[in-house]
């Protein structure tokens, strides 16, 4: 069934500027989809979204890496929590980060290679841009937020996303702040029966032109390095202008979008012990599911614990990172029990995260089917800061382009292969990704559908 949008933007604007609110009734949902449930009725495919997830301080290899390669892989005790969602998850092990001539920067080199394709030369060095930014520039036009970075650690500095050497994408660190950003002022429910554009928006857009001119003028008066920064300022203003246009355009209806209640986020959750981190992670995950379902963003980063994971276990005196270094390996177990305790909590949260997206119906599948989630950590064996055998995870079928439920053995090849595969799946057409030994143009073929 084809249904024309009942109003044009021009009509909206004319009506609004004439002082009349526009009110439109909208029968929608499934009727907007084609009969296969894989595309909108007008032929536009359901969008494929990209997300990342991260946890700190790696794994205990002997109880993390399954023995079996391929489908129906076994679940050693550190990842036993995958059980209900294993079919959605690819586990990639035995991939390496290559630092070449760069130093091994503790808890930094590993994730930077996996997110940006290059080893950093110092802890202040941010080579290139992170993969989420690259993907966002490809697929985020037309959504309210180009990307959203969120952390469950309650510290907004905990982010693995940066645009360039000097521009970090700060994380949203509290459930309430995330809620306000998504569903507070400025949110337009895509499934609302009526659409009333805010009459302020167009006058705001009009007033923006003078600001743009001032940014251009300032750009001309400053030095070369600052000119680039002014250029970014100008671009951000342009993006804001486009946002204003979006706000007066009735959003596409979204079948899976259910606006969450504010009640769930009103209670502040402080504390960095695993229990509180999990509580924040859960609420933020639920909000992010709806952020995606309601098409507020198509790219996001969720950080469960940071590379130098500061998560604590109540009653135990060593935070996660400290435990990985100071706790002895229990000879009878063959691993560090407390360090492993933290990894197990991380994997439980990952499983919750994956399951949350898998529970939302979209088209004839789930939201997760139309996503590619890429999860990384900073070390393989944190105790010795190893970046050999870095584990990675994916979830989602990337709109049907990716197989799931597999354990892949990287056989020591570059971990950047997963980033490269993700870029290709998300439509970023690059001949290769990464630098020097991390350069790859080899996708991980086993997971391609």
């Amino acid at each position: 069934m084809m249904m024309k949008r009942p109003i044009t933007r021009r009509r909206v604007l004319r009506g609004m500027l004439g002082g009349a609110a526009v009110s439109v009734a909208l029968p929608l949902l499934d009727c907007f989809l084609n009969t296969n449930g894989t595309a909108y009725a007008d032929g536009a495919p359901l969008p494929v979204r990209f997300g990342t997830w991260s946890w700190g301080c790696g794994m205990s290899k002997s109880i993390f890496v399954p023995k079996k390669i391929g489908a129906d892989y076994d679940l050693p005790e550190e990842i036993v929590s995958f059980k209900p969602v294993r079919q959605h998850i690819n586990l990639l092990t035995n991939f390496n980060g290559f630092r070449d001539a760069a130093p091994n920067l503790c808890h930094y080199t590993g994730w930077v290679i996996q997110r940006a394709g290059s080893p950093p030369m110092s802890t202040f060095d941010r080579p290139g841009q992170t993969i989420d930014v690259t993907v966002a520039r490809r697929i985020s036009a037309g959504t309210r937020y180009q990307s959203l970075s969120v952390t469950a650690t309650s510290d907004e500095r905990d982010t693995l996303s940066y645009e360039n050497a000097t521009t970090v994408n700060t994380a949203i660190a509290s459930p309430l702040a995330l809620y306000e950003k998504l569903f507070g002022a400025g949110f337009q429910d895509p499934n609302a029966p009526e659409f009333k554009p805010d009459p302020m928006t167009m006058v705001r857009k009009s007033a923006l032109s003078g600001v743009l001119e001032d940014a251009k003028k300032m750009q001309a008066s400053v030095g070369a390095a600052d000119r680039q920064r002014l250029d970014q300022y100008f671009s951000s203003l342009r993006d804001l202008e486009r946002q204003f246009e979006l706000q007066v355009t009735r959003p596409e209806p979204r079948e899976a979008c259910v606006v969450p209640s504010k009640k769930s986020v009103e209670q502040a959750i402080s504390g960095i012990d695993a229990e509180h981190v999990a509580a924040r992670h859960k609420i933020m995950t639920d909000l992010m599911v709806m952020a995606v379902a309601c098409d507020q963003t198509r790219v996001f980063n969720m950080l469960y614990s940071k590379p130098f994971s500061g998560t604590t276990k109540n009653g135990y005196d060593k935070p996660h990172h400290t435990a990985t270094h100071e706790e002895p390996i229990d000879e009878s177990l063959g691993y560090q029990p407390n360090a492993s305790w933290f990894t197990r909590r991380a994997m439980e949260n990952w499983a919750y995260f994956v399951e949350a997206f898998s529970k939302v119906k979209e088209g004839d599948g789930t939201l997760l089917d139309n996503m590619l989630i890429y999860a990384t950590t900073d070390q393989s064996f944190a105790k010795i800061h190893s970046i050999d055998g870095l584990p990675m995870l994916t979830a989602g079928r990337a709109g049907g382009k990716m197989k799931t439920g597999l354990h892949i053995d990287g056989k020591g090849s570059a971990s950047t292969r997963m980033g490269y595969t993700a870029l290709k799946l998300m439509g970023v057409d690059v001949p290769s990704w990464g630098t020097q030994s991390n350069t790859t143009s080899q996708e991980i073929g086993e997971i391609l559908a």
Partner: protein
């Protein structure tokens, strides 16, 4: 009461060679630009700094009063050479950040233009903050709009608006008021646009040819007014400072002196001093600090919040109200106490803040023994001699302690039998291991002295039943406890050197090379003033170097060749 006479002398010394008092009197009439002694390469590059969250909040409060909720739209900065402020001249504004700015602008502008609600006792902000009333509130009023944008624009953009700009903004207000049938709605939209304008959010060092140095540039009067204001008040200039800039008075000795003295005497100086020390002390980490509630049940969020405030109050009282020696911050027993801090200091406290003298037998003296330093540089459930030693060197002495090597072997300190009771015993293993010793020998002898305080800053004499040995040394100066450590730090020559470097970097918005010729000059003046921070601020603010522009140094893009060797930095004696 501040000793302004002393400051006067320090200021005068900058204008002449030698600082001889008799000559100073004559030099007082010499124009700043004619100072003969200034090294030719003195000055700083022209920078563009993104306003910080605190500067934004201070500016909005100054303009529109404390009842306007500013929100928190600003992303945290990354520390550069020990200061967050130095990152402000490097960061760019992403789209996400711009959206946050815009949201804050809408919130602030709508509050400023709010009609209020008399029935609910909500005052009308617009009546107080818009200096005129429109003829009809539902229609445009260009005259009133022009009055508002001219006044607000001059303060926000820190220079007068051109008539063309005024006309553009009034035109916007007119069209918006027409569309919305609301004069104040129109003005709100214009104010929103001003609040996201780069002329407000970016602090640009605007320059002009230096009339006394052919081929060189200096800050123009408005650029200088902003630099002064953000240094001393962490906020925008006021009308008087802009008036002085407009008249070109900031480049006459009398004019600049008058303005600098006025700014130093203003209550707004406290904002400036707080902002600097909050930054230098790394207190932004309090925003995410928490302690293990099982281990430290009496430490709440309020305790940690008050710990930060306690030290800042002490700093303001010591440096501004008492105009005392900066170095004595590390030995003074005078501080303030709140109810939330009472349990940690083992003292009952009344609600609010009251002055408090750390008892002589408390084991505490100086800000190193404040709960702020002790909790910030510790783990959630235990103390850390290494973190504390590292912080002391990095924060107060501007030294850099390298990170541990990536392949560090901790097996020697792993002690499943718990035979090692105290941190000293455990860390001794590091200090006897060659690959660890290099760094631990420069951190641990300091940090172990603070082991009298647990991870929550609570005093103790034993750990796991064993007596704590708090003896230590700082660069060859031995001491037996934390009070002795404070004295040793107080007497370290690197302490004032570090402060001067950080204040001058902060003042000019970028990293300062340790070979910068002005550092030695400022440091000598600082010593001559008896290490009075107000005098240091005056000295920098009055110096010609403060307003001189020099070419930017080559970028640090190419970083030093990587190495896995431990870098042992020379520790100053």
């Amino acid at each position: 009461m501040r000793d302004l006479m002393k400051g006067d002398e320090a200021g005068r010394r900058r204008w002449i060679v030698g600082g001889v008092a008799a000559v100073a009197a004559i030099a007082a009439v010499v124009l700043l630009t004619r100072e003969p002694s200034l090294p030719t390469n003195a000055g700083s590059p022209a920078r563009v700094r993104l306003m910080t969250g605190a500067q934004f909040a201070n500016s909005i409060e100054y303009m529109f009063g404390p009842s306007i909720d500013v929100g928190s739209a600003f992303a945290p900065l990354q520390r550069v050479d020990g200061l967050l402020a130095l990152n402000a001249s490097q960061v760019s504004v992403t789209m996400g950040q711009m959206q946050d700015f815009q949201r804050a602008a809408v919130s602030i502008a709508s509050q400023v233009m709010s009609e209020g609600n008399l029935d609910r006792g909500v005052p009308s902000h617009r009546d107080a903050l818009v200096p005129c009333k429109p003829a009809v509130a539902t229609e445009p009023d260009d005259e009133c709009a022009a009055t508002f944008v001219r006044n607000a624009g001059r303060l926000l953009f820190r220079r007068p608006l051109s008539e063309q700009k005024v006309a553009e903004l009034v035109g916007n207000a007119h069209r918006a008021a027409d569309s919305l049938d609301d004069f104040y709605g129109g003005l709100q939209v214009v104010l929103e646009s001003m609040l996201i304008n780069p002329q407000f959010l970016l602090i640009e060092d605007t320059t002009e040819p230096d009339p006394d140095r052919s081929g060189h540039r200096r800050l123009d009067n408005y650029g200088l007014a902003s630099r002064l204001s953000f240094l001393l008040w962490n906020s925008i200039p006021d009308e008087e400072l802009l008036d002085a800039a407009e008249k070109g008075e900031l480049y006459t000795q009398r004019g600049r002196k008058r303005e600098v003295e006025r700014m130093l005497a203003s209550p707004r100086l406290e904002n400036g001093v707080r902002a600097f020390f909050d930054d230098m002390f790394g207190f932004d980490h309090f925003d995410s600090l928490s302690k293990d509630p099982q281990k430290y049940p009496s430490i709440t969020g309020a305790t940690l919040q008050d710990a930060r405030e306690q030290t800042l109050r002490t700093v303001v009282d010591h440096l501004l109200h008492k105009n005392a020696d900066y170095r004595d911050l590390f030995t003074t027993r005078s501080t303030f106490i709140s109810r939330a801090l009472g349990p940690v200091y083992q003292v009952g406290a009344a609600p609010g803040w009251s002055s408090y003298e750390l008892p002589a037998n408390s084991g505490r003296a100086g800000i190193l023994t404040h709960v702020s330093f002790l909790t910030l540089h510790a783990h959630p459930a235990r103390s850390s001699a290494t973190l504390r030693g590292k912080a002391l060197r990095e924060v107060f002495l501007c030294q850099r302690v390298p990170p541990p090597p990536p392949n560090v072997d901790f097996s020697a300190v792993e002690d499943p039998d718990s035979s090692l009771k105290t941190a000293r015993e455990k860390l001794e293993v590091h200090r006897t291991n060659p690959s660890c010793a290099g760094c631990h020998k420069i951190t641990d002898p300091i940090g172990l002295t603070l082991e009298n305080f647990d991870g929550a800053g609570q005093f103790r004499t034993t750990e796991n039943g064993a007596q704590i040995d708090t003896s230590g040394e700082l660069d060859g100066k031995p001491f037996k406890d934390a009070v002795g450590l404070g004295e040793a730090l107080r007497n370290s020559p690197a302490l004032p050197t570090c402060l001067v470097k950080q204040v001058y970097s902060y003042a000019t918005g970028g990293s300062i090379d340790t070979r910068d010729p002005m550092l030695e000059i400022f440091e000598q003046d600082f010593a001559d003033s008896g290490y009075r921070v107000v005098d240091l601020l005056r000295d920098i603010a009055m110096s010609e170097a403060f307003s001189r522009i020099v070419p930017a140094p080559p970028s640090k893009q190419e970083l030093a060749a990587p190495t896995e060797e431990i870098e042992i930095l020379t520790v100053m004696n």
